[in-house]
Symmetry: C2
Subunit: 389 residues, 2 copies
């Protein structure tokens, strides 16, 4: 096992009617930025619940944080926070709203230079406190310090992390997810699934607990995911998926083990260039990457095949390759596309995509072995482009 540090001070309030905890959680704050995305929270009743809970506070609404939150939008919120002396940010939404609010919280206090520099690698010294009401479980942002921000004018999608970005609290009420559109439910299964594989399908370092903790999440997503699509109002199913998503990226399963994240880095570029949903890009890239990196990941793929898909062929190669096929079949069974060609992306674009991924990574090769460069990315994209049979 590798050495590691683990720190996660987020307070999770999980369950039915947990939004009712808001007034006591906010008792030491007065000027609240109530930040959200589009109008869905007005349709499903959450907006009204929040307004009721904040009735004795000085509330400033900021709506319009888009999927893949946009730097220019967020900078307007930064200006509002500074002008109105906001002392707490309440993010109500999914990963995009929470990621956006993490950036706002850090940028408000970042005065030494242009806040864009936070996304270029400069560390922030401080941030406004942030609380979350999660409405779309997928990214795990409610229980980690990570944030991904887009700047469309520069065709950029950048991530940052700061110890000041941990939400003070996150409220997770599974029943608020009953009304999610099917596409979001599918994304909310695939995104945590690939968060786990990024931390699990690497190479062995003798970490049986972390391996099993990863398999626990994968098995639960495979078991519960289809139920959520078939029976959207089953509370326990929604609760299980919601808790899987937080556990997939709250830091625990990735401690002491190698991590990959190449699927995410390639996927981010597909979102930046073609506006695909984050999880849609992962469903395309993961199976192709596993095929391309087969020899380097084979040992873990065999464990994965045995313990997640119950495969018991005598040949390890067959178990490992079947595990990849089963992964893609699982994504497709949910209704996700898994090939670039299905999104009408031209094969001629692939070299340019590979080049741009390497530009964003500043030439640093990707993956747990740091062996995925421009040629390898192109190889992965070519596999991902072929027709599914």
């Amino acid at each position: 096992m590798n050495n590691f540090e683990l720190y996660n001070p987020v307070k999770i309030i999980f369950g039915k009617d947990s939004i009712g905890s808001l007034p006591s959680l906010l008792q030491n704050h007065e000027k609240i930025l109530f930040a959200f995305g589009g109008g869905s929270i007005k349709e499903n009743g959450i907006y009204d619940q929040i307004k009721t809970a904040l009735i004795h506070k000085d509330v400033y609404e900021f709506s319009g944080i888009e999927a893949n939150p946009e730097y220019d939008t967020l900078m307007k919120a930064v200006e509002l926070c500074r002008k109105c002396k906001i002392d707490f940010i309440l993010a109500v939404g999914g990963g995009s709203v929470i990621d956006g609010c993490k950036f706002i919280a850090n940028a408000v206090k970042f005065k030494k230079s242009d806040p864009w520099n936070i996304l270029m690698g400069e560390q922030s010294d401080n941030a406004l406190p942030l609380g979350c009401v999660l409405t779309l479980p997928a990214t795990g942002s409610e229980m980690n310090p990570f944030s991904v921000i887009s700047r469309r004018s520069m065709q950029q999608k950048k991530d940052f992390s700061s110890v000041h970005s941990y939400p003070v609290f996150s409220i997770l009420d599974p029943s608020v997810t009953f009304s999610l559109p099917e596409r979001q439910v599918i994304n909310g299964i695939i995104d945590p699934f690939v968060h786990v594989t990024e931390q699990y399908l690497t190479y062995k370092v003798n970490s049986p607990l972390q391996d099993r903790q990863s398999e626990a999440i994968l098995n639960t997503l495979i078991e519960e995911g289809p139920k959520a699509l078939n029976n959207p109002k089953d509370y326990d199913v929604r609760a299980n998926l919601m808790w899987c998503a937080s556990n997939a990226l709250n830091g625990v399963i990735g401690k002491g083990v190698p991590q990959d994240w190449a699927t995410h880095q390639i996927g981010h570029m597909l979102t930046a260039l073609y506006n695909l949903d984050h999880a849609q890009t992962l469903a395309i890239i993961l199976p192709a990457l596993l095929k391309h990196e087969f020899e380097f990941k084979k040992e873990k793929l065999v464990s994965y095949g045995k313990r997640v898909f119950n495969l018991d062929y005598s040949s390890d190669n067959k178990i490992a390759s079947s595990a990849i096929d089963k992964t893609e079949k699982f994504f497709r069974s949910l209704g996700a596309k898994t090939r670039l060609s299905e999104y009408k992306i031209s094969k001629k674009d692939l070299p340019d995509i590979a080049k741009k991924v390497m530009e964003v990574s500043k030439g640093n090769k990707l993956g747990e072995n740091k062996r995925i460069g421009e040629d390898e990315i192109l190889g992965i994209l070519e596999i991902a482009w072929t027709a599914y049979d």
Copy 2:
């Protein structure tokens, strides 16, 4: 799944040479209480490592915190802390030292009445900050707010929990456990095992992720435990066991599910009366309790049998009862005794033990169903007393 709150701000620094982090972790503190137990840390080199790391600090040593830490001993440390204006407590040891230091940390700041009242249920308002260097993985105390304190003059063993009791940091270097006596290694496998079963072998509430997270720990303990006894200097094995122990009682697996803890409550009394090691009591009581509560726990015992012991009989009853037998066999295979009679405790004592457990619980029945009263405890003790065949 049940509603829950989860909060755990302990910073874990895990791995080889992690004691080297001490100076930076303590940079904002000057007057340090360096608290430990007996002389073992002087023999295995840890004492010297700590002294070197604290060379620029004002260090007050307090040794002699015993197994099942004694209230009267701890109160001497409280006095020392107050007199010398200690601003940080560094606990170096296992669960007893850490539990003891949690009490010291709270009691120093508890001035409204006799600190014994903290153990009688009064909430403390504050505590000195506490850091840990774990030398004996077992109780999980390094990553939770729980503490168990004994007061031998009153034949009492009481627990308390406070939000102020979370260690600020805990340093876990698996290599410091190479020199542990075999009995401690065995205890360090059984204690986390039973921490998990207390949160897992109850009744089903549709919580597949938590169930699998529990099974992940149990399977890893079963796999790695014997290796630690056979090859005490295998770093990865020690690392896996150490991380299992923290994960068994850091709050995660018990969130959203019923919890039992009757085995612990009965076991505490056996320690108070007969001075058995904590884990020794658990190895005796758990199998007997599972037999006595068979019908109420059967559904979970079946899952446990299938997924932890790979049992595949056609009869659920046979899977469940075999799972109990396998549990006891596992404890015995490590070298633990599993019957009261093996410790020469007289059968005539059993009614008195049962009565005393109920006195400590103030008449509240035990277990996840609150159905274990004096008669049931006696029944469990009688099963636990019979000879093992």
